[in-house]
Amino acid sequence: MTESRSLNIMIVEDERIISMMLSRMVERLGHHVCACVTSAPAAIEALDRVIPDLAFLDINLEGEQDGIAVGIVLRERLGIPFVYATAYTDAETKARATATAPLAFLAKPIDLDSIKSLCDLVSN
């Protein structure tokens, strides 16, 4: 196996401390955070400028649009893999999220290992 390449990662999370932790974890694994935003419109706007290899999306975000709106753009317009990092959501939200075909659902608390295995999956 070749050494896994360094990925460009996008983080969409409105809880700053959690996004800071996620950034640190990703960086410690040798990847690069290319965008770290707190809302769906900001994420969609950032996607005009950067092309991530993988995105971590929180579902419940500040503002009217949730993380699923970003997932749709990633899936349908750009074909970029993404992961929903979310706490418990209701069945209806979960169904909407599943319909966007994410790479995975990452349960909170987020731990380094699951981040690592997801990054490895994408980089190989």
């Binding site: 800071m20 706490a87 608390p109 731990d111 290992d113």
Partner: protein, 397 residues
């Protein structure tokens, strides 16, 4: 002639009996009365009117008229006048138009030759009036009037009974409606409360998550490995609490935790966090505990399982960790057992795990439980490893 009062008495007894047997239906009772009195006494028309009060005004409502074809007569204003004036009568009386007086005048307006007016009274209370209009034969009317005076109180009772009963039914209906309204508003309040409670548990969990993130960030920025280790331990403890809140807001009652689900998740999380390959065997249990007990249980499990994972199997030693939580007659036994190197050997780490053990000790006391530590390697039971057992009274969630 002696026979007549006797026959009348017989008939009278029959009438009273039948009236009382129809007490549940005043309308039917009045119909029976008007029809039979008409035949017995001989009158063209018999009317039974009930005195009602509507917004302070007195009205007389026809409850029976016989024959039915003369119903329109009952609506004549003069009939209402007679009924009103009947309130002044103490006893049944006979009237003829030429006698003069308000009732006689009213009869004149109705073109009626003679009439018997029988007040229907319950004590001093006027319940209504019975009118026998256009008598066919006025002989023996004295007996008739006496009889009617004895008969009408029985019918008055029926009317009063129905009136009270009707009021009671109305009251029951009103209260039922009130109760329904109150139940609905209570249910709404309860639903709102549930939503809020769920939100609170969600928030608590999110906040605990932020706390663990802060600890991660702090550890990450430190170069001191023992500090990093300490922060990591704290993180694990807080995560075991966050997991309780996660289970809570997914539970139906929002107050108790499914320990089977909780322990299973906690063990999986711990194995993952410590990157351990030691298998954790968890015996399934059907137990729910309230938040007050699930938090200490979670913290105890966190300490014991973490300890076992870290110290029981050094240098790639093989074995498993057995976790169980069993309930018997209200007593819960929480047990964590390994077949590793034993307490004495792992006590080399006494300094690092002393906080852990004193936490377990303190939390066991908080649960009003007994902590028992069996070091199988010391007790020479032929086995290895340690068994921690805490027996505590389980609270109903």
């Amino acid at each position: 002639m002696d026979n007549q009062p006797h026959a009348f008495n017989m008939l009278f007894t029959d009438l009273v009996e039948n009236i009382l047997s129809m007490a549940d239906s005043p309308g039917r009772c009045a119909d029976y009365l008007s029809e039979n009195l008409r035949a017995l006494i001989g009158a063209r028309t018999v009317l039974v009117l009930e005195c009602t009060h509507f917004s302070g005004e007195m009205l007389h409502e026809i409850i029976s008229i016989f024959p039915e074809r003369r119903r329109s007569l009952g609506y004549h204003e003069a009939v209402q006048n007679i009924a009103e004036f009947s309130h002044k009568l103490e006893h049944t009386a006979m009237f003829e138009p030429h006698e003069g007086g308000p009732i006689a005048d009213a009869l004149g307006r109705l073109n009626i030759d003679s009439a018997i007016v029988a007040p229907i009274k319950h004590g001093e209370e006027r319940m209504g009036v019975l009118l026998l209009l256009d008598l066919l034969d006025t002989t023996g009317s004295k007996t008739v009037m006496e009889t009617l005076d004895r008969l009408t109180p029985a019918f008055a009772l029926v009317l009063r009974n129905a009136f009270l009963y009707n009021n009671l039914e109305l009251e029951v209906a009103r209260r039922t409606r009130d109760l329904k309204e109150r139940t609905a508003s209570l249910q709404m309040a309860l639903a709102e409360k549930e939503v809020m409670l769920k939100e609170v548990h969600h928030r608590v969990k999110n906040n605990l998550q932020i706390v663990t993130s802060l600890l991660f960030l702090q550890a990450d920025s430190s170069k001191n490995s023992s500090l990093r280790e300490a922060l990591k331990k704290s993180r694990g403890r807080i995560q075991s609490m966050a997991l309780v809140h996660e289970e809570l807001y997914q539970s139906e009652d929002l107050a108790s935790v499914d320990m089977n689900e909780y322990v299973r998740k906690l063990c999986a999380d711990l194995a993952e966090a410590l990157e351990s390959t030691v298998p954790i065997v968890f015996r399934e249990c059907a137990l729910r505990l309230p938040i007050t007990q699930s938090i200490p249980c979670g913290l105890i499990l966190n300490e014991l399982v973490t300890n076992a994972l870290k110290y029981a199997y050094p240098d790639g030693r093989s074995g498993e960790i057995r976790v169980s939580m069993l309930e018997d007659h209200g007593m819960v036994r929480l047990a964590v057992e390994d077949d590793g190197v034993g307490l004495a050997s792992s006590m080399k780490n006494a300094e690092t795990c002393s906080l852990g053990l004193s936490l377990v000790d303190g939390l066991a006391a908080q649960l009003h439980g007994q902590l028992k530590i069996v070091d199988k390697s010391v007790d020479q039971l032929g086995g290895y490893g340690v068994r921690f057992e805490i027996d505590f009274p389980g609270e109903e969630p």
